[in-house]
């Protein structure tokens, strides 16, 4: 075991994967010599050479399109999009190509690629460095969508994603890169070294895709969340004194519905929390599923706490961000309903 930040854990996942399998290649904007603007690929080019880890031209469609071609050849590319906000130029290649190649070729060609990208807000990044576009991928059949919330999972999930035979969208909550963040932006930053999930096996291990985990057990209400909001939800539960069961979904597609349903049937109440804008966010799907599967157990409507339906603002970041107060409010309302 070693203590790692989320950046170190992600880097370690690529390092371990590249070391075990020379089919794994890593590229993206600024990821080569420099090691990425968040330094997630630092040292990989030096260790594995310029043909295994290299800088790409600034063309996200090209990065993903080239990765698809490489995967068709037989490699396992793990590419970085510098910010999730910049994935849209690659959207066609992801949605029309990566997601459908296995299906449309009846398995002759497959697409084992990972598209990593920093996601979410909390860093005063304004509308082009703060978005959470996961719902734009969960609607796409053929993709897997992963959002880790801590270094341990980040490493285990990323290795699993690289080894997965299908395309995986890997969203890294950038506000968590250097420490857990519970939404109290005005308090001092805690480092990962102080958090139990900053303990990460140094070698190869995986966290299976499609498995949620109960982060904090509770009996009164289930909170379904992922990424940064796991920590915010934990804080909200603690501060409100409500006995919430916080489930960290980790993989959004495919979803671990069993864990969700078991919890909601137990608590009979549910709050769904994410940073992304509310309307048509992944919370809508979670809400729909919970009411479909647990309708007769529910004692209150499933509540959603999410980003407001505006572009992500700069100056009003902390009015916008669904912090612990808003989550706690939803928890109370759900308990009182």
């Amino acid at each position: 075991m070693a203590r790692m930040t989320m950046i170190e854990a992600i880097r370690s996942a690529m390092d371990v994967s590249m070391g075990r399998d020379d089919k794994v290649v890593v590229f993206g904007e600024d990821v080569g010599y420099f090691g990425g603007v968040f330094r997630c690929t630092q040292g990989l080019q030096q260790k594995y050479g310029v043909t295994r880890c290299f800088d790409a031209p600034i063309n996200e469609a090209g990065i993903v399109g080239a990765a698809i071609g490489m995967a068709a050849y037989g490699l396992r590319p793990c590419v970085e999009i510098q910010f999730a906000d910049y994935v849209y130029p690659a959207y066609d290649q992801i949605v029309s190509e990566a997601a459908r190649i296995r299906y449309r070729s009846n398995g002759q060609f497959t697409c084992p690629i990972v598209v990593r990208m920093p996601t979410g807000g909390g860093i005063f990044g304004g509308q082009t460095h703060s978005q959470s576009p996961e719902a734009l991928f969960t609607h796409v059949s053929g993709l897997k969508v992963v959002v880790p919330s801590n270094p341990h999972d980040a490493k285990g999930l990323l290795i699993a994603a690289i080894e997965d035979p299908d395309p995986v969208i890997f969203l890294e909550p950038k506000r968590l890169y250097n420490g857990p963040f519970d939404g109290h932006h005005d308090r001092p930053v805690t480092p990962w070294s102080k958090h139990p999930l900053g303990e990460v096996p140094a070698d190869h291990f995986t966290v299976d895709l499609g498995q949620a985990v109960v982060r904090c057990p509770g009996g009164a209400v289930t909170v379904l969340t992922y990424g940064t909001m796991v920590h915010v939800a934990e804080a909200a539960a603690e501060e409100s004194g409500i006995d919430a069961e916080v489930i960290d979904l980790r993989t959004l597609l495919p979803l671990d519905l069993d864990t969700i349903v078991a919890s909601v049937k137990k608590t009979r109440r549910c709050v769904v929390v994410h940073e992304a804008t509310l309307t048509s966010g992944f919370g809508a799907e979670l809400t729909a599923l919970v009411q479909e599967e647990c309708f007769w157990h529910l004692e209150a409507p499933v509540a959603r706490v999410a980003g407001y339906d505006t572009p992500y603002p700069h100056a009003q970041e902390w009015d916008y961000f669904p912090g612990p107060a808003r989550v706690a409010e939803a928890l109370s309302a759900t308990m009182e309903a």
Partner: protein, 410 residues
Amino acid sequence: MSDTEPLRLHVPEPEVRPGDAPDFSHVPIPKAGSVPRPPVDVDPREIRDLAYSIIRVLNRSGNAVGPWAGLLNEDELRDGLRHMMTLRAFDARMQNAQRQGKTSFYMQHMGEEAVACAFRRAMEPGDMNFPTYRQAGLLIAGDYPMVEMMNQIFSNEADPLKGRQLPIMYSAKDHGFFSISGNLATQFIQAVGWAMASAISGDTRISAGWIGDGSTAESDFHAALVFASTYRAPVVLNIVNNQWAISTFQGIARGGSGTFAARGHGFGIPSLRVDGNDYLAVHAVAKWAVERARRNLGPTLIEHVTYRVGAHSTSDDPSAYRPKTESDAWPLGDPVIRLKNHLIKIGAWSDERHTQAEAEIMDEVVAAQREAEKHGTLHSGGKPSTRDMFEGVYATMPPHLRRQRQKAGV
């Protein structure tokens, strides 16, 4: 000083429209044999002219002339003729099958048969094509079974793609033929990625990308050129300029540039234009480009100048937007007739043998069709199962899809 006349938008228009007399006098056609053949390791800057000319081998009298001639023997040429004739017969039958409701959709190659058929001959086993929907010649010339193609066209129980994909959107990995997308241009950068992977792996295999004149306007065309140029990917990038993109003439995609091939210059990529209706010329240029790629000299861009004689697809009627007789006026002639005439000229073929070959080929195609139809056609006979529809979205079916399949009762 600036004068202040009002600005006007320039919207390019073709020379002629339905009702007008076809006119290709504005298309300069250099003499066969007139374009030099540089060494494959030439500095791209020295051959910029080749993007503004047309490499041609077969002249009007049916002789193969100039520095690009002489690469194929009589057997190979007869083989090439057979491929093109087969593709044409195949097209005719499938076109008809669509009219009979045996498939939902078909796209033919009439007039462009030489391009993919001749190119295929320059590739080696293990190389990979990233085609569009108009390169079935790659399969035919690679001896991919016609019956498999038909099974896919008919979406029948033997459809290798299980009914999931549109007719003619073939996939044939073992024949070096990547799964056709339907979304234009996406395959162009994928071809570059495949070639990069081969280079990363220290392999010797190369790839070829394919794109239509209209589709060069798509942004993935740019992505492909950027990546190919930067990493010197071992890839041949083919533009099939058949003058039309559905109803849109090539001037809309080409804009102020003289040619599509010239697009390569901004990337330092050697760019050649070739007479796409000349089997020998296409093959010679393909061989040159493949050799460059294989020798790690990097990408080549080829513009195949040809003409789409038929409709865009079975959903299209070109008489609405171009003169009906335009194809007859096309100055580069018909690829099948030109190769036939050449073979006759060199004493390797005759009108009789041609007629006989036509009949034999049609028999083969009909036999294949009969065989395929045993497995069903779109609306009758054997079909891919509903179960097949749920399979293959992922390597392992995830729970939500299993639930949906169960609910569907299959």
